[in-house]
């Protein structure tokens, strides 16, 4: 394949990564923004979403689209409720102290991961996509002085991958509408701005926290359900999304949602493109060092305006 079509293919793969990453990272960013705590178990909620999607899809049976549709609704719901319960039983009791929360969520990380290993097992299992048509993409080429369309070999995507990108965009718009246009969003933003003042105005801050923590985890789970038909469900799959979400949230400015989405697109696309040209290990080293240095020298992030 020539360079042009190759780059287009890498960008398309990157766009799918970016879409799923945006959902996961917005979940993490929301939790950090409103509650000022870092949820290290976020990647495990992602993994839990994928594993539940497999479980639901195999239990429901019938046409793959049916099982998938049920999983799309039920898996994030279950994960969200579990996360809200974890918030009420653990995080509330450490009074959302930033450092103790990190330690407690590291504990949660191991608990979720190892319980999944004990019940679901160490296998990687696929979920069938609800629909999957191969779409060849044309490319233009100059032949004997005139432009011609042709279909390069290997340049294709699937209808499902495009649907993932579309679905992520719709959900992100929904999150934005929830925060900006509804009463519950208003309450969340009030809590984020000034917790004590919100309490004084009669906002049940602890219930808001549980809701936000659940919502953040549910977004990660939703991203995972969307990605399992492309990538299999495995009990260790939470590590990479956690690291990438961290990177995205930091680059985008801690707690800033538009910044997070912009950074997710940037990181997702460049991850797709860089890993085509460099060794993936080297790409990861560069990315982690970059993030560390951004935090050291520009703690408000590349797009953020507010200090962390």
């Amino acid at each position: 394949m020539e360079f042009g079509p190759y780059l287009l293919l890498a960008s398309l793969e990157g766009a799918v990564t970016a879409a799923v990453l945006a959902l996961t990272a917005v979940g993490l960013s929301l939790v950090f923004g409103v509650m000022r705590v870092v949820n290290v178990a976020h990647g495990e909620f992602f993994m839990l979403g994928a594993v539940l999607a497999w479980w639901i899809a195999t239990t429901v049976g019938g046409h793959p689209a049916l099982g998938f549709a049920v999983a799309l609704v039920v898996a994030p719901l279950i994960v969200g409720v579990l996360a809200a319960l974890a918030d009420m039983t653990v995080l509330k009791r450490v009074a959302y102290d930033p450092e103790r929360t990190i330690v407690a969520t590291i504990g949660l990380l191991y608990i979720i991961q190892q319980v999944t290993l004990m019940t679901y097992g160490p296998e990687a299992r696929p979920v069938e996509p609800p629909f999957n048509h191969r779409l060849a993409i044309p490319w233009i080429e100059r032949v004997e002085g005139s432009w011609q369309l042709y279909y390069p070999w290997g340049l294709s995507t699937t209808s499902y991958k495009l649907a993932v990108i579309g679905a992520a965009a719709v959900v992100l718009l929904g999150v934005w509408a929830l925060l900006a246009r509804t009463r519950i969003g208003l309450v969340m933003r009030a809590t984020q701005l000034d917790r004590d003042m919100a309490t004084a105005f009669g906002i049940p801050v602890e219930r808001v926290y549980a809701l936000v923590f659940g919502l953040g985890a549910a977004l990660a789970a939703l991203g995972a359900v969307l990605v399992v038909p492309i990538q299999q469900a495995h009990y260790l799959m939470g590590g990479d999304p956690l690291l990438l979400s961290f990177i995205v949230v930091i680059i985008g400015g801690l707690g800033s949602l538009p910044g997070t989405v912009a950074a997710a697109i940037l990181i997702g696309l460049s991850d797709g493109i860089i890993s085509v040209f460099f060794s993936p290990t080297l790409a990861k080293i560069i990315a982690t060092l970059l993030v560390a240095l951004v935090l050291v020298f520009r703690p408000q992030g590349l797009f953020g305006t507010r200090a962390a």
Partner: protein, 315 residues
């Protein structure tokens, strides 16, 4: 105060004497375990200086442990160095790495400090994988018995190994106790209690914290180097996130900011995992549950609770 000093000296010297004597009665399996625990307790003691006494929570100490281990291991493997200079190379590697990381990471505070140290450690781990030609990556490399004879003493022999581990642990304990009696050590505690006030009183907080990072990192590197030399193996697994979490877990469990805590926590956790790995392969579940329970119910840790309830003089 002086009475406390006497009691504290008696307690810590007593612990070392008991550890030295118990070797004669322990079965070989537990003797090996205890040697491991003592080396790892040295690592935890290093972590405790930064976390327990200075109040800085790092999630990247595996980088310092691995710097010591690979500084030692690679000088033996690639340069054919003798064990003593190799150990020094490990220490030097730990000091340099912790100085560089300290200068960068200490520009941040709180949650950002935790993430920055985590990211640097992750970059270090990936670098070890990338340099697979020298480090053999995840698989690691073995340091043969012939390469582990220091000054005519074969460190692969269980009894020699046990005493070498004890010497390392005693040294780490001594450095911790000594540090607490110096102006520097007391200034670190002042920073932990109230950084703004320490700054107001005219302390150069950045330099003090940098000193704590370097001492802590070098002590961790010493344990990493000793671990590699005594057990004859260096692998990338020791640089992974898990090995940054472990010292945090041990110190939290044993009691952050107590000299004895790191050893108590390491001992307790090591045997907890050892016993549960007989029951299930998912032994990290135990680590997770303990982490959550300790954060919820005993934020002071075991030795901390002991100090709160009975022995107020515990350093």
């Amino acid at each position: 105060m002086n009475e406390g000093l006497g009691k504290s000296a008696a307690l810590h010297v007593g612990l070392i004497v008991v550890l030295a004597a118990i070797q004669f009665v322990l079965p070989e399996y537990h003797q090996g375990n205890l040697a491991r625990i003592m080396v790892l307790a040295g690592y935890a003691a290093g972590y405790n200086i930064l976390f327990g006494y200075t109040g800085l929570l790092s999630l990247g100490h595996a980088l310092f442990f691995a710097a010591g281990m690979y500084g030692m291991g690679l000088s033996i493997r690639l340069l054919d160095a003798a064990p003593a200079p190799a150990l020094l190379a490990g220490l030097a590697a730990g000091a340099v790495v912790s100085l560089v990381i300290g200068v960068l990471a200490l520009r941040t505070a709180g949650v950002a400090f935790m993430i920055v140290t985590l990211m640097f450690a992750q970059a270090g781990y990936l670098t070890i994988l990338l340099m697979g030609a020298y480090t053999r990556g995840d698989e690691g490399f073995v340091i043969s018995q012939a390469q582990r004879v220091m000054w005519g003493i074969d460190l692969s022999d269980p009894v020699n190994r046990y005493y070498a581990a004890l010497i390392l642990f005693a040294a780490c304990l001594l450095v911790t106790l000594r540090l607490l009696r110096t102006r520097f050590g007391r200034a670190l505690i002042a920073i932990r209690e109230n950084e703004e006030r320490a700054r107001m009183l005219g302390y150069d907080v950045f330099r003090l914290k940098l000193g704590a990072v370097v001492i802590s990192g070098t002590m961790s590197a010493a344990s990493g180097a000793a671990y590699g030399l005594l057990f004859g193996y260096a692998g990338a697994g020791f640089a992974s996130v898990q090995y940054s979490i472990f010292p945090l877990l041990w110190v939290l469990l044993g009691g952050a900011g107590t000299a004895l805590g790191p050893f108590v926590g390491t001992l307790f956790m090591f045997y907890l995992i050892d016993l549960s790995s007989g029951l299930t392969t998912a032994y990290m579940l135990v680590a997770g549950v303990v982490l959550v329970l300790v954060t919820l119910f005993a934020p002071q840790g075991l030795a901390g609770e002991l100090r709160r309830r009975a022995w107020r003089w515990l350093p």
